[in-house]
């Protein structure tokens, strides 16, 4: 199954058969105080710098999150989208819990964006699916519903099915629903990553949809976090993760290596391209 996203002219194809597409996570105020202060002053230079660095590190899509207390995201998210599209031709992933901010951003965005995210709570489905349909956006479906989070992979699969079914009924193309199996920290719950890995496998094998996840936090509360993140990322890709939301500077090399060993990179072209572009000059 293929999900196609578009920048102004550039198309990015997320294919369940790979190779892996990287959605850059860095335009996000968490632990980036400077992003908040510059955005509040309507100064986009730091945000554009984060975009440039990520694109240079092989990001294929950019996640855009400007949520912070005191920030009017219904005004700021569209402004950020305009600034990004004036400078870069790359598809965007609009990241906000506020459906009005998402809609305001979609109104001004060119191309075909990804919405991050819709979940199976009735309120979320009712507010966001019509918006996605109207603006022709793809969506990330987070496997969470009115009962909260389940730790049973079969139940997470059911929630994914529900989001897909409701989306199709709302007029969204099936392939435009990317599932987020919900990664959680392994330090507090020994089964946390296993449950998500099994969900990835179920969604991939039974539904055949593209799969994303933000997985930088699974190593919370432990040392040597990069080792944990890398092991988890490689296993997730093996099971069917196709478009992680992550820091491209940290994971691009690993992702290219994973594609290579899964026979999705003939002549190691992409792997070597990454090696050469990241050589210290």
């Amino acid at each position: 199954m293929k999900t196609i996203l578009k920048g102004i002219t550039k198309e990015v194809v997320i294919d369940t058969e790979g190779p892996v597409v990287i959605i850059g996570e860095c335009i996000n105020p968490t632990r980036r105080r400077k992003l908040v202060s510059t955005l509040q002053a309507r100064d986009f230079s730091y945000m554009l710098e984060l975009a440039r660095t990520q694109i240079g590190s092989m990001a294929d899509v950019l996640d855009v999150n400007v949520g912070y207390p005191g920030v009017d995201d219904e005004a700021l998210l569209p402004a950020a989208v305009i600034a990004l599209q004036e400078n870069f031709d790359i598809p965007l992933c609009l990241d906000s819990p506020n459906p009005k901010a998402i809609e305001a951003a979609l109104k001004v965005a060119k191309g075909k964006c990804l919405i991050n995210s819709v979940n199976a709570e009735e309120a979320s489905l009712q507010k966001l699916l019509p918006v996605a349909r109207e603006y022709g956006a793809a969506i990330i479906g987070l496997v969470l519903d009115d009962n909260g989070i389940t730790n049973d992979p079969e139940k997470r699969l059911k929630i994914a099915e529900k989001i897909i079914e409701r989306s199709v009924r709302a007029g969204i193309k099936e392939e435009d629903v990317i599932i987020d199996p919900m990664a959680m920290a392994v330090s507090a719950e020994p089964n946390a990553c296993r449950v998500t890995l099994e969900t990835i496998k179920l969604v991939h094998d039974r539904l055949g949809h593209n799969i994303t996840q933000g997985a930088s936090n699974i190593s919370f509360g432990l040392p040597n976090r990069e080792n944990i993140n890398n092991a988890y990322m490689a296993m997730s890709i093996m099971y069917g993760l196709t478009c992680p939301i992550a820091n491209p500077e940290k994971i691009a090399g690993l992702v290219r290596a994973a594609d290579l060993v899964l026979a999705r990179d003939e002549y190691a072209i992409r792997f070597i391209e990454h090696y050469q572009t990241t050589l210290p000059s």
Binding site: N28, P29, T30, P69, P97, N98, G221, L222
Partner: protein
């Protein structure tokens, strides 16, 4: 007598729950916090002594090691589990009024936020500091915080948020709580929260780690 208390304290610090617990491997087949607390009570050691001389100092060492990155979340959870197994013998004394807690601490993750690890760790450490914990869970509305504060006069309250997007709900809840209960001590915490944000929204205390909250509570009790 002191030796028994020291052993309980060591079991809690290193997460030795009971004799069946295989962790930590070095203490395999030895009695754990559960059995030793029973022995202590049977020997006539008071619940207060067990708390003050074994459990609270053990959890304090755990908190300090965590703050210094010498131990990590899983080890903290092991310690908390060992503490709970010891506390299971002490709880009846709380109910009878023979032993008193230092106070009541209400804790919850704010509306829209489902993250509970940080909140749980802080709750465990504060319980280990001798406080009663009222855990409201995750996705807690302002109304629920208010209800709990009404039900437990004199309690201290702690709000957790992990997302920058839910910090706004933290601000709203704190503002409402402050207006209703002017003297209420309000703690805030979570990855995106800072001392500056704490000040700005009118909360009383912020700490980047659980031990900071435990230490500050000592100055209140």
């Amino acid at each position: 007598m002191t030796e028994l208390l020291e052993r309980i304290s060591t079991c809690v610090e290193f997460g030795k729950v009971d004799i069946k617990s295989p962790y930590p491997p070095a203490m395999k087949d030895q009695e754990g916090a559960f059995e030793l607390t029973r022995h202590a009570l049977d020997d006539g050691i008071s619940p207060d002594e067990i708390l003050e001389e074994a459990l609270i100092p053990a959890m304090s060492r755990v908190g300090q090691k965590f703050s210094r990155n010498e131990i990590f979340v899983p080890q903290m959870l092991m310690a908390a589990k060992a503490m709970s197994s010891s506390m299971s013998h002490i709880k009846p004394y709380y109910l009878s009024g023979e032993t008193k807690r230092r106070g009541t601490f209400i804790i919850g993750t704010v509306k829209g936020d489902l993250h509970d690890i940080g909140k749980n760790l802080v709750g465990m450490m504060i319980e280990g500091g001798g406080w009663e914990i009222i855990d409201l869970g995750v996705d807690v509305s302002t109304e629920k915080f208010i209800e709990a504060a009404e039900k437990h006069p004199g309690a201290v309250i702690g709000l957790s948020a992990l997302l920058t997007t839910t910090m706004e709900n933290m601000r709203k809840s704190v503002a409402e709580l402050r207006q209703r209960f002017p003297g209420l001590k309000i703690f805030v915490g979570g990855a995106p929260v800072t001392a500056e944000f704490c000040r700005k929204i009118g909360a009383d205390f912020y700490s980047p780690d659980p031990q900071g909250a435990v230490e500050y509570l000592k100055t209140l009790a």
